[in-house]
């Protein structure tokens, strides 16, 4: 599984316009760590709704950039929260690592 699916990324670049792809990447690199952080806080506070919403947002953005692994992990967590299940084991750590790989690759793609 590629970290970033190039076809999806190219389509995104075309859609936003080449001039604005950097703006998009920056927004994601700035927002995603906040979302993951919010998930950690929500997990400790057992705030299922906040956990779900942040997982949902992260999933949405991962799909937009064509990051399949990160999207799948976020989606799994979103669906667990939707079932009121915060018994997520080490899934948040795995998600954090997946994000690290995505962030590194996006920084390279940033022209």
């Amino acid at each position: 599984m590629p970290v970033i699916d190039r076809a999806t990324f190219e389509e995104l670049k075309q859609m936003s316009g080449a001039d604005f792809i950097n703006e998009l990447i920056d927004a994601f690199l700035e927002d995603a760590p906040t979302m993951i952080n919010q998930m950690q806080i929500a997990l400790e506070a057992k705030d299922v709704e906040s956990f779900r919403r942040n997982a949902h947002s992260l999933k949405s953005n991962a799909n937009t950039f064509g990051a399949p692994e990160l999207a799948a992990l976020a989606k799994e967590l979103e669906f667990m929260a939707r079932e009121n299940n915060l018994d997520i084991g080490d899934r948040l750590d795995i998600l954090n690592q997946a994000f690290g790989k995505v962030a590194a690759e996006l920084k390279e793609l940033r022209a």
Partner: protein, 348 residues
């Protein structure tokens, strides 16, 4: 890839910054003016602050903190100032149930996220075009229709989908306009057409009808839709009589200036029609289709054969009060029809 569409004023509502920037930038690329809001509350504030110079379209995320997409949609639909602004819901595929709920509530359309650029462009343009047509029609009603009709329409709103209605359909055509056209210069011909159409529109709108199609020197009008009118048959015939009267005056003026005079043929048929917006995403008009429409066109054509200005079908005849005199012409079998139909000439 610039759009041929007129630019629209759009509001993108999404709590997610990436989604917001992406939607705004791509829509700007298509030539639209885009503003953004981060949550439902901010969206409503922007919509209400701009009620004078309002937005043409809203792209609304469902999943948001503060005030979610449903709540914004419901508030807009309840607000007479905002309810005519079309709203496209944006959501991820696994929220399909929420999307269905929104469309049932009254959202114009929906788009899945991540948004496909081709769909985004097509859906936005289609919504803008539909809104433009509704605005135009509203303006037309304000200009030509009686105040009662305009009020009724504004109150009930426009139905976009096709539905069965009972209506009278009128076709009117200038007899041998081509030969008139050949005798005079093009500018005079266009001027003549414009004066003629102005008179015809007056006669139609004055009798609660709607002119919905101009084709060359002909026009098509509907009575009984989009606003229901139980006397649509009488109104259609009275409108035809008024057209003939107005043309008499018009021809006297033309004669005084030594200009060409015109004669028209008008055909009316009544019955069940399917009325609604038809056409493509780029070009749609409020119109109606069905056997009744075809019959009206055939009857109009027949006015040339029998040299009568106004011809109507049996069902139209049955809806007329006694003071309108008609002459039965008997059964006529029209091309493409299985059964002959009774045709009547209206005498005034």
């Amino acid at each position: 890839m610039k759009s041929k569409q007129e630019p629209g004023r759009l509001l993108v509502v999404d709590d997610n910054k990436v989604n917001r920037i992406l939607l705004a930038r791509s829509l700007e690329q298509y030539g639209h003016n885009v503003e953004t809001a981060e949550n439902g509350k901010q969206a409503l504030e922007k919509l209400r602050a701009n009620s004078e110079d309002s937005f043409d379209l809203v792209l609304l995320d469902i999943e948001m903190p503060e005030m979610n997409g449903y709540q914004v949609l419901e508030s807009c639909l309840r607000d007479p100032e905002l309810r005519d602004i079309p709203i496209i819901m944006t959501s991820s595929l696994d929220e399909i149930n929420s999307v269905v709920k929104c469309v049932e509530l009254g959202a114009e359309d929906y788009l899945n996220k991540p948004v496909n650029p081709i769909l985004l462009r097509a859906r936005v343009n289609a919504s803008l075009e539909k809104k433009r047509l509704r605005d135009e029609q509203r303006k037309l009603f304000r200009t030509f229709a009686t105040k009662e009709i305009a009020d009724e329409l504004l109150k009930t709103g426009f139905s976009l989908g096709g539905k069965y209605v009972h209506a009278s359909v009128m076709f009117s055509d200038i007899r041998s306009f081509t030969s008139i056209g050949e005798k005079q210069d093009p500018a005079t011909t266009i001027e003549l057409l414009n004066s003629y159409f102005a008179l015809m529109i007056e006669a139609v709108a004055g009798n609660q009808g709607t002119v919905n199609q101009f084709e060359g020197d002909g026009l098509m009008a509907i009575f009984g839709a989009p606003i229901q009118d139980d006397n649509h048959r009488e109104h259609a015939v009275r409108s035809a009589l008024e057209m003939i009267e107005l043309l008499k005056g018009f021809n006297l003026e033309q004669a005084a200036q030594n200009k060409v005079q015109i004669k028209v043929g008008i055909g009316i048929a009544s019955g069940r029609v399917i009325a609604g917006f038809t056409g493509t995403q780029n070009r749609a008009t409020y119109t109606c289709v069905g056997d009744t429409v075809n019959l009206a066109a055939r009857i109009e054509d027949h006015t040339k054969v029998v040299d009568q200005p106004i011809l109507i079908d049996q069902y139209t005849f049955e809806g007329l009060p006694k003071d309108i005199k008609v002459e039965p012409l008997g059964l006529i079998l029209f091309k493409g029809k299985q059964q002959p139909v009774n045709v009547f000439a209206v005498k005034g």
